[in-house]
């Protein structure tokens, strides 16, 4: 066997050429991701923690999802095993239904396809073998999956916002603040009343005047509107935040926050406090900073 010089290399080339990713995920890194809905398969990512998931139910701000793995040998009896033709991924999937959890939409990173079988009819599906002893490696495998889901459950980027901006700005005269920011005095009044947000750039400008760091000034903002946070959580916007962070060599969470406050600050300047369509504002913001 070893005498056939080069033949193994050719077999390796042939094997890699033959094995190709399913067509359903061809656009996972290039196309706009869809709205999360049931039976979808997603890669979830928070930091460097990643996991394949199947969405069981979806609402506007969260999904109920179960972890999915690809090796049926590691399934236990809490997991169901689908057949190759029962999902776009064309391989058997191990779905850990009993470990399903409610997760924020913001952890959904890449859309990879769909499952074609009703996972709620679990009794009709194959299960793995039971774990009979703690020495079984599958017990550790499942625990690791549960830890991963816990990371996703706790994933947050939006700061709490302590709302102390008014007190912080009280350390300087309104006219000074208006001059540094290049805004009318009435906007400074809005800031001091907690009705407006400082953008990251404005926080940078004010930091020397207030003898605080830009981060401290930004953190004194009021909490971001929940609807804005929910929209920025959507996979289509997360993809753009990830791209922006990469382009600027910045931390992803910092970028998310900067975009959030940037959109909130611009929005209040434009609408004078009227009800806003956050998605339009977000689109305009990205048009300016990412595509512009």
């Amino acid at each position: 066997m070893s005498g056939a010089a080069g033949s193994q290399g050719e077999r390796l080339r042939a094997a890699l050429t033959t094995a190709s990713l399913p067509s359903s995920i061809a656009g996972a890194w290039s196309e706009r991701p869809p709205r999360p809905t049931g039976r979808q398969l997603w890669r979830a990512r928070w930091g460097s923690v990643t996991q394949l998931l199947v969405v069981l139910d979806a609402s506007a701000r969260s999904v109920r999802a179960a972890p999915v793995t690809l090796d049926p040998e590691l399934a236990d009896d809490s997991a169901v095993i689908t057949y190759s033709d029962e999902s776009d991924l064309t391989v058997p999937l191990v779905v850990w239904l009993q470990d399903a959890a409610s997760l924020p939409v913001r952890v959904l990173d890449r859309f990879l396809g769909a499952v074609h079988v009703d996972l709620r009819a679990a009794s009709a599906l194959r299960h793995g073998r039971p774990v009979l002893t703690a020495a079984d490696e599958r017990a550790v495998h499942r625990a690791r999956l549960q830890d991963t889901l816990d990371v996703f459950v706790a994933a947050r980027w939006a700061p709490e916002g302590d709302g102390s901006l008014g007190a912080l700005l009280g350390a300087a005269r309104p006219q000074q603040i208006a001059q540094v920011l290049g805004v009318p005095n009435r906007m400074v009044i809005g800031l001091r009343r907690g009705e407006r947000f400082l953008s990251p750039q404005q926080a940078e400008l004010l930091a020397p005047l207030l003898h605080r760091s830009a981060g401290e000034v930004l953190a004194a903002n009021p909490p971001l509107p929940e609807d804005l946070v929910a929209d920025l959580d959507l996979p289509e916007y997360r993809a753009r935040i990830t791209a922006l962070a990469r382009r600027e060599g910045a931390d992803e969470i910092d970028t998310w926050r900067a975009v959030g406050y940037g959109v909130a600050a611009v929005s209040h300047r434009q609408t004078e406090g009227d009800a806003v369509s956050w998605r339009d504002r977000i689109d305009h913001y990205f048009l300016a900073v990412l595509d512009g």
């Binding site: 066997m1 070893s2 056939a4 010089a5 033949s7 193994q8 290399g9 077999r11 390796l12 080339r13 094997a15 890699l16 094995a19 190709s20 990713l21 399913p22 995920i25 996972a28 890194w29 290039s30 890669r43 990512r45 928070w46 930091g47 460097s48 923690v49 990643t50 996991q51 394949l52 991924l89 064309t90 391989v91 073998r129 039971p130 009979l132 002893t133 703690a134 020495a135 490696e137 017990a139 550790v140 495998h141 625990a143 690791r144 549960q146 830890d147 991963t148 990371v151 947050r156 980027w157 993809a239 990830t242 791209a243 962070a245 990469r246 910045a250 931390d251 992803e252 969470i253 998310w256």
Partner: protein, 335 residues
């Protein structure tokens, strides 16, 4: 270990996104070679050592066996070059470990022919396939769930295999352990059990003793140096050897958790893993030690010696992906 390239297009991106097979071959050969050079896995059949063709043969078998799941796994883990390399290293090593599992199973089945064949309590059956039953027992073939028999095997207490030889006569204590559990399994089955199935059940019951090299699923590739027993007195030497055998059989993750057996709450932070995985690892090590030392009057001393080895042996943090929030961004895959 991994080749971070800043903003340059990484090997994994060229492979997974652009389908560049030449890049894939170079990357896989480099990482598989790293495993085969530093681990003691045997080369594929037909090769006497791990040279280039043997590594290619391994990769072909792995890709053909795992197929698309192999690529999907890479894609799910792919955040940057380092994450993909971690995935590939673990996948290659786990595949070698799976390959190794087939060997002890076949060897144990052959050994049972000798061990059970020499014991009047057992009766071999040869048609339509090889099997075992208790002498004079029912002649029906058992057709249930294998986990029922595994459960029966685990219920047998008071037996262990303190030492195992890969060839030659089976040591008396090991022979007694195998026959005792085999009798319990066949009694539970109430009929004939296929030889393959019986070997599988016994291998699972005594895997840590018979085939420690096949234990565990690796998530990363860190192997700590083994330590030698340092005790002088004969009894202490025995205890040290027993502890050393256990230590040798442990996976890197199991070794890492040994120092925290008495303070498991400290393990997650110290090892960089989640609390549930830490608890499962602690429970796993305790169960393995219990199975290996059950009814041994020196059990406590063996555990103490094991703790000494664990504490004195530097073990690296289990390099799981960061559990914090997003920090660095993906490579081109972050588009």
């Amino acid at each position: 270990m991994c080749r971070a390239r800043g903003n340059a297009v990484s090997e994994y991106e060229q492979w997974l996104l652009d389908g560049d097979v030449d890049v894939a071959i170079a990357l896989l050969r480099r990482l598989a070679g790293q495993i085969t050079r530093t681990r003691s896995f045997p080369p594929p059949a037909g090769y006497v050592r791990w040279h280039k063709d043997a590594v290619d043969e391994l990769l072909v078998e792995m890709i053909e066996r795992k197929g698309v799941a192999f690529l999907l796994g890479a894609l799910v883990s792919a955040i940057d070059q380092c994450s993909v390399e971690r995935y590939l290293l673990a996948t290659v090593e786990n595949f070698l470990r799976d390959q190794a599992k087939a060997t002890p199973h076949g060897k144990l089945r052959a050994r049972l022919e000798t061990v059970l064949g020499a014991d009047s309590r057992f009766e071999p059956v040869s048609t339509p396939t090889g099997g075992w039953r208790l002498a004079g027992g029912p002649e029906d073939w058992w057709q249930g769930d294998i986990s029922t028999l595994e459960r029966a095997a685990l219920r047998v207490r008071g037996v262990s295999i303190p030492s195992w030889n890969k060839a030659g006569p089976t040591p008396r204590v090991a022979r007694e352990a195998l026959t005792t559990v085999a009798a319990a399994v066949l009694a539970s089955a109430g009929g004939i059990v296929r030889a393959e199935g019986l070997a599988r059940v016994l291998l699972e019951r005594f895997r840590h003793a018979i085939a420690p090299e096949t234990v565990g699923e690796l998530f990363l590739n860190d192997v700590a140096e083994q330590t030698a027993p340092a005790d002088d007195e004969p009894e202490q030497v025995f205890i040290g050897v027993a502890a050393q055998e256990l230590w040798t059989a442990f996976t890197p993750a199991q070794r890492a958790v040994v120092p925290y057996l008495t303070a498991p709450q400290d393990a997650p932070a110290a090892l960089g893993i989640g609390p549930k995985e830490a608890n499962a690892l602690v429970a796993q090590v305790i169960e393995v030690v219990r199975l290996a030392t059950v009814d041994d009057p020196r059990a406590e001393a063996v555990v103490a010696a094991l703790l000494d080895i664990g504490i004195l042996t530097p073990t690296p943090e289990l390099a799981r992906p960061s559990r914090g929030g997003p920090s660095s961004t993906e490579g081109r895959m972050g588009r």
